[in-house]
Point group: C2
Chain length 458, copies 2
């Protein structure tokens, strides 16, 4: 008996080692194939240089839907379709003016500024008022009546000592998103915010801001980090007045689409593994890292599976979401429809953190499930560790966040984050900032994870 047990164990061990070797071999094939192949880079070139920025409701967003539908249709998937989504259509208007006026020491100084997405405009006449600097939303409440009639200037920087720049962004972005509401509640007439950028430079960063029903809407703009420093220094010496003019406005909603394609699973077609990014971008730059990279990553996963003649057991679905930047209409529509049909997403992987060298995946799930799921993922580090891929908790992505209640795993690709907030939401987010090999490595990491999820489930 004892010998039989030993033999059985040896056999099991052999099988599991053989399986591990087979997995390692297939993952190596994925990497080799992705790294010798430039198609995803060429797709990104078209999306950024030929189509350009793709704000929801814009002609370019429509062109991106059409182009990526055609690409998906060329991949030999089992089905490709468009999912209708109604999206907001915000318009930046004329170039913004933000100007320090009549400074006793400096005269007039024009600052580098961009309206925040969804912001109303000042109207063609613009407005002039005294500036008051704050470092948090709470400080506005503390100041209370002192902000009345003024322009509130939010100037808390992203913390440079945090290694993941996304954490620093998370620690500062409330000023951009909710700053106008808080300022208006206390009687301010406009807000400007220090750009959410890692660098100290002249580049203003736009991004979403929101209004609240029942609170008066006031214009909200971002200024560059260098100008924020300049303004803050000047405020230490003297009272400062700003002139602001922007003509941004919200137009009527538009019809748009999520672009979807899938390979049907051969054994468990009802278990869906999703890969995705978002098609829309801000209206400045070219939406290269945010999130052209995520779109071509996801398309490349599908292409590599086909190219390597891989027949998945589970359904692999690629979703390019519309309107992540200023409304999340695509993500919400997708989840609502999926829930209505009673679908189950075993896992959803979003790439929305740029096309840089991947360092791993961040994972999220319902609290009673995450521990078990995470253990499983950690085991795969033996296979993915050689490619610099590790798993951490926390993450996912905005577009897939509403799928959490389906009790699957939400996963976000985590590329190296040091450069991301130099480009994010700026005119600098262009094709030339994306490196072909770094981009390919992201797609290879996602394809490898899809392969493991498909092979073993959770």
């Amino acid at each position: 008996m004892r010998i039989l047990t030993v033999l059985f164990l040896l056999l099991t061990l052999n099988i599991s080692l053989a399986q591990e070797n087979e997995d390692a071999f297939f993952i190596k094939k994925i990497y080799n194939s992705t790294l010798t192949d430039r198609m995803s880079y060429e797709w990104l070139r078209t999306l950024t240089l030929e189509i350009g920025p793709r704000l929801s409701g814009s002609h370019q967003a429509a062109a991106a839907v059409e182009y990526t539908y055609q690409v998906m249709d060329s991949l030999g998937l089992d089905s490709v379709w468009l999912q209708p989504v109604e999206v907001p259509h915000w318009h930046r208007g004329e170039p913004e003016i933000v100007k320090i006026v009549n400074s006793p020491s400096r005269g007039d100084i024009t600052l580098n500024a961009l309206s925040l997405g969804n912001s109303i405009g000042t109207g063609p006449a613009g407005l002039t008022a005294e500036v008051i600097e704050v470092h948090s939303l709470d400080e506005v409440n503390d100041l209370g009546p002192k902000v009345k009639g003024k322009i509130v200037f939010y100037n808390r920087p992203m913390d440079p000592t945090l290694l993941r720049t996304f954490s620093a962004y998370g620690g500062a972005v409330d000023q951009r998103g909710a700053g106008a509401i808080r300022a208006a509640e206390n009687g301010a007439i406009a807000t400007i915010v220090r750009s959410m950028g890692s660098n100290i430079d002249e580049v203003p960063h736009t991004g979403g801001m929101y209004y609240k029903a029942g609170v008066i809407q006031i214009p909200a703009l971002a200024i560059s980090t260098l100008d924020a420093e300049l303004l803050s220094n000047l405020l230490k010496q003297e009272a400062v007045k700003l002139f602001i003019r922007n003509t941004s406005r919200m137009l009527k909603n538009k019809q748009s689409y999520n672009v979807i394609g899938e390979i049907k699973g051969s054994q468990y077609p009802e278990q869906i593994i999703l890969v995705g990014g978002h098609l829309d971008s801000w209206d400045v730059g070219q939406g290269a890292h945010d999130d052209g990279a995520g779109c071509v990553h996801s398309l490349e996963v599908m292409r590599q599976l086909r190219k390597l003649n891989y027949q998945p057991k589970r359904t692999i679905r690629c979703v390019l979401f519309m309107n992540e930047e200023n409304g999340l209409a695509g993500g919400i529509m997708y989840a609502n429809e999926s829930n209505r049909k009673g679908e189950f997403h075993l896992a959803a992987i979003e790439s929305d953190a740029g096309g840089f060298t991947p360092k791993g995946f961040g994972c999220d799930a319902e609290s009673n499930l995450i521990e078990d799921y995470f253990k499983k993922l950690k085991n795969w580090e033996t296979l993915l560790g050689p490619y610099g891929i590790t798993f951490s908790t926390g993450g996912g992505g905005a577009d897939i966040s509403r799928l959490k209640s389906q009790k699957g795993l939400l996963i976000g690709l985590r590329p190296d984050s040091q450069r991301y907030f130099d480009y994010h939401h700026t005119a600098e987010d262009t094709f030339d900032k994306v490196n072909q090999r770094e981009l390919a490595l992201g797609a290879a990491a996602m394809t490898s994870l899809v392969y493991l999820l498909d092979s073993y489930g959770l």
Copy 2:
């Protein structure tokens, strides 16, 4: 007795845990201080944008010696000095011409080319000959008399499937370095080589090539990877003639310097921990990643130690080497002088792989020592792992390689390597390609390792 043993063990454990906490705390201080501080980035700006490319023997190389001496002198070190080094002085001459001539199908096509460093010129008249494509040095020998009177075209690409691009470079660079010797031995009259670049683009990469006593010297140039593909495709259809003209030549040797500064150790001053990079660069671009980044990394280590009021037990020495690119005169001189004085370098850390996000250190030592040293380093991954730093074997750096016989540890900083060979030895190696946070992280990793080496020795 048993209780005493337990108490002793607990006490020891506590002390070691307390020490580990203290180390973690100091390393966190190093990272915080380096990440909130932009000085090394500003030094690099001066070195690249104000001084520019710094080929050995050039005025800019002299200016770089003077500038970095002044910087080092401002850091409050115990001593700063110049070590004289005689260096070769190669001159590129007029812009190179490499042209496909009289192609039946394509007519004349001008290719993007650069002379390789140390190459002779064709003379003002240039030369025209038939091209023969090869993929290795051995193939030239196999062809033998068939290459006589021809231009040998080395076209073996860097292997894109290798994750570390330095490995791919190592697998291809023999064509550039020794290609002219092998071709001349078989009667060829010139060589061109496919650029050592990861990307398929228009950018030619220069780099060192060498002649051999007794073998006739022939001109050697690099063409862009895209032009190499073009030429190779054309050669599949027809015989191709190239016209080559370059006026490169070696001038008289020049006097130059290694720039050195140190903080004397308080307990073991005879044990030296070296940090360094090389001051010289190629004459195209600005020598930003290669190796301005390594120079300011090394300077920043010294500055942070002083800024954090750290008094080292061992001697910490910063060496900015001259002439790494086309002769290694600085590295050889430094090692010879060090050996002559009977110095002992406990460890030498070179940064010569760019200013990208650091992923770890590669380590080398004499074969009977490396295993023990490596074990020690691996223990420090507990402290450095949270910053993405791991240790691997193999590495070091060209400038420090001659110190190996002192039986210490040779260490090379290993940044993410995906972008390096897009810029390496090209006009694209400019300041704007360096990210401030990525650069700072490299300096922080080096400073942390210096702290651990100084605290614990080997």
